[in-house]
Subunit: 344 residues, 2 copies
DNA sequence: CTGAAAGCGCTTACAG
DNA sequence: CTGAAAGCGCTTACAG
């Protein structure tokens, strides 16, 4: 096996033309079954593999998708958000199932992050994943749109956003959290996480949370809110501020599990108990969530479905087909961080 | 920007030949600076990007590396070992730094897992990552070797293994764990993790552990050993067996953090305390390790360095250069799961 | 320093 | 059902 075999080698051995080899290899129905079998047998024997560069060049298609993970530059670059990691797993699987290769790249928001994947013909489309500040990257999305790049983006359901955004029903997730906390008898609530236009996903979660509490007669401005990006450190800091503020709190809904983990640590450092003194609820259901002390009750985003949907929809875009669904429904996962029995 | 510009378009606009455009774009020193600047300016203006399929086809090089993550089929397929996830992060970064693209794929051991990446010219080389049973995939490695595929593999330092294996000094890591546990005054030791030829990495850790204990006069066969693959469940099960066995134990060294987490849970379920009743030590230092209760003391493998080394060495292989180093040194990370003060 | 030409290995009209 | 031919968009000897 010194030199790699080409379709011409097979043609020669099979006594047919190279065109026929090409057709036979792709199981074209217009080639005689006998010829086809013969060609395929020889190909197997030669351990022949189609040269993707050549076929992509000719077809002007790469059967490759690019995944761009961009992270908030403020986070420690060695630590990737576990939620995205799960996504990566499911995206990889979804691609494999559809015969697509997956090019992966991490980018800081500051970089020329669309990275020319489609321009260079390395990928047919791009999947964008990131928890950056929405306002920062909106402009980049517009640019991609202007360039007619095929892409989908995991993100928030902000208005004016076209089909390319796939997301959780964050507002509904927030509602679920609020209802659960309410059902457990908690009365004084806080939300920890950014709640601005720059973080529409977090904001939606906050709004949903507020929806639920409103049903119970709790006004939106009665909910203490402290900003935090999606890191443990930010959560820890925010809860310290909350505790220092002297506000009465017995239940905190955190915009992400990472925040929730920091919040629980912050609470425990003050000598308070979770959930006895303060209940803590997360969002995402990252793998760590079940290992914390106490195990974290949280709102699960089905990353497996999300990955499928991202890949599926991107492929539709690439093929000029309409997109069908672009939202997944969150589910509550009850562990013990919010308490179990009803409180007085 | 209807049609993508080609080098011919630029040539036309610049009034030079297409060959010159190609050279200018790659900063060839043999083209006049003026010409070069002019060509590059036009290229930028046209938002021109080299078609990778064409250039790869011509160069017979892809500037792409493939990462194959193969997992033990017995593990839950939705959960990827966090250690590998960290590796993935550092490999991605290392590739980006060297201008390489990264194709990612997860495979079950059962699949035709080398997946023809190099055969199809999609990648110049392959990085193999996995915690499968070594004996199962040894044959596949041999096949790759026979096909003269360029690849490196994160794995064990078993004898007869050529350069393509990059690994931690697992034995040294085991020693570190043993010395630490000894220094804390523990006396009755157990090792939880597979200790057979199929898991050479775990086995090396066990051996190193045993080395250290031997220094203190503890015989190898005085160490209780229970098998476990690298999952929480396996760890939990194994420690139950250990506890049921009635053997005296006050310190357990686990072959991986995942196992250690399960072990701590198993211990706590019996109403025993970590580290007061039994100290627990892990291996890997995955992100969760600092979140467990108590935070896990463990042996850290520098995934950042490991990723670098994997990429660097693969590139050397691709370019027929000799490999320099293929081992990283582990480091102990002391948290609280082994106790802090010396025991009576 | 620049250009004309060949060719990387395919796929796909076109013709039969 | 099959073949001859063109061409995808580059890079790189070769010649000047």
């Amino acid at each position: 096996m010194k030199e790699k075999a080409t379709s011409f080698d097979i043609a020669y051995l099979a006594g047919v033309s190279q065109s026929t080899v090409s057709r036979a290899l792709r199981n074209s129905p217009q080639v005689n079954k006998e010829t086809r079998d013969k060609v395929q047998a020889i190909a197997r024997q030669l351990n022949y593999k189609v040269d993707k560069n050549a076929s992509n060049l000719r077809k002007q298609r790469s059967s490759t998708l690019a995944l761009l993970l961009f992270e908030d530059p403020t986070t420690d670059e060695s630590l990737i958000n576990p939620f995205f990691l799960s996504m990566l797993g499911s995206i990889t699987r979804a691609c494999a199932q559809r015969g697509q290769d997956l090019l992966v790249s991490f980018q800081q928001l500051s970089d020329d992050w669309h990275a020319d994947y489609e321009d260079t013909k390395k990928a047919d489309g791009i999947i964008l994943l990131g928890y950056g500040d929405y306002e920062d990257y909106e402009e980049k999305l517009d640019k991609l749109l202007a360039q007619e790049t095929h892409f989908v983006c995991w993100g928030a359901d902000v208005e004016g956003h076209p089909d390319f955004t796939i997301r959780s029903n964050n507002r509904q997730g927030g509602r679920l959290a609020g209802e659960h906390l309410l059902s457990l008898g908690h009365q004084h609530f806080a939300f920890i996480g950014n709640a601005s236009a720059g973080s529409p996903e977090f904001n939606q979660r906050f709004l949903g949370f507020s929806d639920a509490l409103q049903q119970a007669g709790i006004r939106h401005d009665a909910i203490a809110q402290f900003n935090a990006i999606s890191t443990e450190q930010a959560g820890q800091l925010a809860v310290q501020n909350l505790l220092d503020s002297g506000k009465a709190v017995d239940a905190i809904f955190c915009a992400s599990d990472l925040i929730a983990i920091g919040v629980m640590q912050g609470i425990q450092q003050r000598g308070l108990q979770v959930p006895d003194d303060i209940a803590v609820m997360g969002f995402d259901d990252i793998p760590v969530a079940s290992y914390t002390t106490p195990p974290l009750s949280t709102i699960q985003q089905d990353t497996s479905l999300a990955g499928e949907m991202l890949v599926e929809n991107l492929l539709r875009l690439v093929n000029n087909q309409p997109i069908e669904t672009n939202q997944i429904e969150p589910k509550i996962v009850i562990r013990t961080s919010c308490g179990t029995a009803s409180k007085g």
